[in-house]
Symmetry: C2
Subunit: 477 residues, 2 copies
């Protein structure tokens, strides 16, 4: 990266040559590996020159090694991973896309998987092991150290996508009667402790959390200060069975860096840190556009067959609703036969309703997902969307209506399409909020199922209002 | 919150009564204020009982006070804020939705705004001040302390949505030759230092970053240890002019908790912490669904007029493309007049193409946004989407083709609609990836402009392939 500062060589304790560090030839300014670099590594692998491949990859961050493996074609990956050998370590596997990882892991001996899982934090190890087939899972667990094994087996007892799967069990918990000096001495004496912690949890004798201390507070307080005097008592506790989406929202809302996880009796059982949460925030926020389109999780590394199956299921459902909408047109065949211009204009009304409905739907789904839209302001949102739909409908209606009237010299036709446009915009605005809000109340993910209802409504009402009005005023004649 | 553990009263240094803490009556399990609670506060304000309102709100976290103000109707907010008085402090304003905040701030004297900004970190103060009109901005800056003013004026010299606006200037930088004891003594002696830091930056005499130390590492090392011996030299530096979306991706990719911001000459000028990034990650990931629908940033607190203007602009553009697609139908009026069933069936072909195109589009836009799709694997993605489109097109084509053939007893019509469905699915799959990838190459946000191109293509090709084939085989006759 061009912004990486060349290091002052005399300050470096180790002697790694500076020119091995990633630079502008390796990555672009947005942290993407350049195709030229990817090609050089793969060419070296292809030529059997594992040494060059390893020399190129060695300076990369594990997240970039994972990217490299993902960017390689499926048939190149096995060779690449074999050539990179020990560079594909536990950290790289933890960063790897789950579909790609699943294939790599399935090629490994259970003992090797157990060894890798043993090197990782509980949450990362669980992420690797939870995707395995049951018998593979058992084989890997059998090969693990008893301690690690117990931690993972416990994590697996919690539901998928809950706090229990995300949390680490390694954390620092101290009694409130300790002073800062005791905390520091404890931290210095325990070589086994994890290093990735940002806060110390203060617990009661029964191991209930009573407060937290930021490490900066501890560092800045004299040794004699009692922990109870500097801890923050207001804490955000995470129940162990909380859904990961809610955990992510809570971290975001309260700007948390780490949080204590408690079991049903309120005892401290683990800790979640923000670095385990950012990818969930990203994933949960980004999935709405994929779910609304029926593309599932939209992972480009997913094997082809399940991807096709998922998308096709959605398309077949939509084929059903499209047929339903078409049957509305079917009622007006004689009008269309008599006046084919109706068939030319009708998709404009239905399509524009679909566009307006999609806008309202997108806004509603996001507002629900970010907890901005709650039962306190649903009615107000309805009113807001109705006003927007009315304003837009009137503008679009006048525009298309006068255009059609002028172009075809037919004022009645202009008035019919204008009125239909207003009606369908109002339908779009109403349905675009009603459907996701109702699904949310029914505890169905509005992102998964809303759009098929909304577009069906705008198609059906688009055709019906336009062709129905045309028939009513005798335009067909 | 039900999961908030009752505190052991004897461990609390202050005497805040436990029953004032938020509980299940105040918030639901997803951290949303309950409508009953919101109503109680607003009723108290309405009855002129400010004391009750303040007693209810006092135990809330600033983020929840901000939510409360957002959940109130626009005409209730002024009264609410007046009644809550000093409870609406700098932290609450920092958490508030920008549109709501803008209105509240515009009612305040510049001196009060300056006072609030002075209490906040630079990044939060900038967020408040950058939205003001230029003359208000000047008045507020004039009323600020010279130090704070200089910090904010400098931040405002950086472009909007860049690292320079996000960063804090308060950070801990130490020379590499210090030992741990010196760092701790320095931290203890400087009362003015910020408390929200998680890493210490190690700098050269010219103030270039040479490494970072996690606070946990410092806490766990003996006092005599040299900083140079425990610092991590591999750092991720953020250029001060980097776009906030790229900053967010970098934090996420490398699981950063904080990062040094450097100017063009590589000198350390600030620090960004992950809590300032999580809402950007959320916002950038969630905006694709809004942008693709033409709903702008989809903020439900935005005033009505700009919302209508933004959505209408998009709808008018779509009206143009819908008219274009309709004109394709116009070429086939005589066929439709002779065989009105064509008009009934044609929206199925165009609509299904739109659905399939939206799937590919959503997957492509997300893969581009998360840097999963790069120039290294674009060609492969094309192949993947083509295969999916072919498989889905064939399935849907056979389904609708045989259905139509059976239902209407017209094998030719069935074959025509089946073939058109295959063609339009291939168009959808190709255009659904080609458009966003091309826009990205042209440095245009694919989420903003892709969908209009894709649906125009699937509409036009849907109508053209179906009606054109029908005309070609003489179905109209």
């Amino acid at each position: 990266m061009s912004e990486r500062e060349p290091l002052d060589a005399d300050l470096l304790p180790s002697g790694a040559p500076v020119d091995e560090l990633p630079d502008a030839e390796v990555m672009d300014s947005e942290d993407r590996l350049r195709p030229g670099f990817v090609g050089r590594v793969l060419d070296a692998v292809h030529d059997g020159d594992g040494e060059t491949a390893r020399a190129l990859v060695e300076p990369l961050h594990p997240a970039d090694v994972a990217d490299l493996i993902e960017l390689a074609r499926a048939d190149e990956r096995e060779g690449l991973v074999a050539a990179l050998a020990e560079l594909v370590d536990a950290d790289v596997l933890a960063e790897l896309n789950e579909h790609v990882r699943e294939i790599l892991i399935s090629e490994m001996a259970p003992e090797r998987v157990a060894e890798i899982a043993g090197e990782l934090d509980t949450d990362d190890a669980v992420a690797i092991i939870e995707d395995l087939e049951e018998d593979e899972q058992r084989a890997v667990l059998r090969a693990m150290e008893p301690d690690d094994r117990a931690a993972i087996e416990e994590a697996l007892t919690y539901g998928e996508e809950t706090a229990g799967r995300l949390m680490q069990r390694d954390l620092i918990a101290v009694p409130a009667h300790w002073n800062v000096g005791q905390v520091i001495d404890y931290l210095r004496s325990e070589a086994e402790l994890a290093n990735d912690f940002w806060e110390v949890f203060v617990v009661s004798p029964s191991h209930h959390p009573v407060g937290t201390c930021k490490l900066s507070t501890i560092l800045r307080s004299p040794r004699a200060t009692r922990v109870a005097a500097i801890m923050v008592e207001e804490q955000t506790l995470i129940p162990v069975d909380m859904d990961q989406e809610d955990v992510a929202l809570r971290f975001q809302k309260y700007a948390l860096v780490s949080a204590a996880v408690v079991d049903a009796s309120g005892r401290l059982v683990g800790m979640i840190t923000v670095d385990d949460i950012v990818h969930i925030i990203q994933q949960e926020a980004g999935e709405d556009v994929l779910l609304l389109s029926g593309a599932g999780d939209g992972d480009i590394n997913e094997p082809l067959a399940p991807t096709i199956r998922r998308r096709l299921t959605w398309l077949v459902i939509n084929l059903g609703t499209a047929t339903l909408a078409a049957s509305v047109v079917g009622f007006f065949q004689s009008e269309i036969a008599a006046f084919a211009l109706l068939a030319v204009l009708m998709p404009i009304v239905s399509g524009m309703g679909g566009n307006a409905g999609t806008q309202t739907l997108a806004v509603t789904v996001r507002a629900l997902a970010t907890n901005q839209l709650t039962s306190s302001n649903t009615l107000r949102m309805f009113g807001r969307e109705f006003k927007i739909a009315l304003a837009n409908g009137l503008c679009l209606g006048v525009l298309i209506g006068s255009g059609v009237a002028l172009l075809f010299g037919n004022t009645t036709l202009g008035m019919v399409i204008g009125a239909a446009m207003v009606i369908n915009n109002l339908v779009a605005g109403t349905v675009g909020i009603l459907v996701p809000v109702t699904l949310e109340r029914l505890r169905i993910d509005p992102a998964v199922s809303s759009s098929v209802f909304v577009t069906t409504a705008t198609d059906v009402m688009g055709f019906f209002s336009f062709l129905g009005l045309a028939a009513a005023v005798g335009l067909a004649g």
